[in-house]
């Protein structure tokens, strides 16, 4: 399982890459895509939509189920990765390239973990079962 060092992570398995002081990219982790299974559909917000830490900003559908994605930050959606709408398999193939949204005008951050902390968190999740 890949957990790149340069990213930050949420407990709901999203990753965030800071682009500059007030903007960032958001996607789902390798762990998440593995748990979800083959994705067949993605629902994205629209540019200009507000996002709030811990609240749903998109959903993904696998052959098993539909799952919400939760925003790691508060701000405004400044770009969406439209490629995912036609090719949701990109998320399974390369979860850290397949970003979902870019958020600008970031006003707040939720609880985030660095790679080491996230790796420990995933191990804990695994051990629970």
């Amino acid at each position: 399982m890949k957990i790149p060092n340069e990213l930050l992570y949420t407990r709901s398995h999203e990753w965030i890459q800071k682009l500059d002081e007030t903007s960032a990219r958001v996607g789902v982790t390798d762990y998440a895509q593995n748990q979800l299974g083959d994705l067949v559909f993605v629902n994205l917000p629209e540019v200009g939509d507000p996002v709030t830490p811990g609240e749903s900003f998109a959903d993904v559908e696998s052959v098993k189920a539909v799952s919400d994605l939760y925003s790691p930050v508060g701000g405004t959606v400044s770009a969406i990765n439209e490629e995912l709408l036609d090719a949701p398999q990109r998320i399974n193939e390369a979860p850290y390239d397949a970003w979902f949204i870019e958020v600008g005008e970031i006003t707040e951050y939720g609880d985030l973990m660095d790679a080491a902390a996230y790796e420990a968190f995933c191990a804990e999740e695994e051990a629970k079962h």
């Binding site: 189920a65 539909v66 079962h129």
Partner: protein, 478 residues
Amino acid sequence: MNLLFEKSVPGRACTLLPDCDVPNAALPEQFARQQPLHLPELSETDISRHYTELSKRVHGVNDGFYPLGSCTMKYNPALNEEIAALPGFTGIHPLQPEYTAQGCMEVLAEAERILCAVTGMEAMTFQPAAGAHGEFTGLLLIKAYHRSRGDLQRTKILVPDSAHGTNPASATMTGFEVVNVPSSPDGCVDLDALRKAAGPDTAGLMLTNPNTLGLFDKNILEITRIVHEAGGLNYYDGANLNAVMGVARPGDMGFDVVHLNLHKTFSTPHGGGGPGSGAVGVKDLLVPFLPNRHVVEKDGHYTFEDAEQTIGSVKAFYGNFLVVVRALCYMKMLGGDGMRDAAQTAVLNANYLKKLLEPHCDAATPGLCMHEFVLTMEHLKKETGVSAMDVAKSMLDYGMHPPTMYFPLIVPEALMFEPTETESKETLDWAAQTIAEILERAHTDPESLHASPTRTPIRRPDEVRAARTPKLRYSFDA
């Protein structure tokens, strides 16, 4: 296998329709088709063979064991069909005068009377066409109730995380906001979380009891009390009524509105896309809002009435009437004691099968269950690489329908079994032994499970591609 369109030969035909016994009427010009219909041209032999071939490629409850959890695939008695085919039921028109359809109206009234007795409700509508449609209707009733009191701040519906996926969908369709209530580790509703979530913005709670883990929530009275005290109403998802029919009543548990899946619990055919019947029962406080055309008895005959503050119609006329006929036939055959026996046998069968399987795999929850139970293949997958999907596919090779997979979502690698009351001990013994063999083979020959099924007419469809690029209609040009 070729489609009817591909088997079509120009000019071939057969005569299945009787001669027209009324004069032909010409359609107004603007409604007439400009081109002939593009229908397949086939002989009766072609058609008969086509459908017989199709029927050999499916697995129905008449073919074998069908423990599809949450779906109550019980055997549908043949008598239901015979009664529902009587010309007095099939030859009616929804607009014929009431005095000429009293027998049919009595069927609706009598089915309502019995089902209200079973659920502890005051009145019932048969308009909704199936379960989720019933949920939608029930939520519209809750909405109308709060509105009629000028209580407009109630915008949220509480839904436990073990609920059926249709619950949050129905709440959203009705314009409510969904608030997820987590389960506690024992699989029941987390009372503290519920207390925190319930408040002046709570319109209601949607609950399935027993829940999707097959557990009867031991705190049910406390749960419904918390919601009532917050000013909300309690909605009972009757999907799992088969476990408590004739034993316990949602009305006595504190529920104000309930939907029933007549096509599940009351033995009318389902699983092929319908028709179903999602009858909705309500307590006194919701009667004034019932959908249109509610049958009532007045001066010795039956008449259709619209409630004072009706939410309107949710389906044309009276719903799927012939499904109600079948359900009534079933209830009359069983009687009150029989219905209780059916529920108790459903619970006994589930517990018997669970006990037989437990030495071979992990149950999601320990101890007794109600009418269904959930196994988790998580350890098996970690140890052998064989997933719940592989086990389910393998069962097909033995002429057994798989259980429900990957549901409920709170259990990883879930397999959910609901054997129902209409299976014999011999069938359950055979099923348990067969599944135990499959699980054993996961350790000795996992490859054979990845490759299964091998003996079915269709092997393993590419579900991902089917979902990503579905073909939804026949293309004549292709």
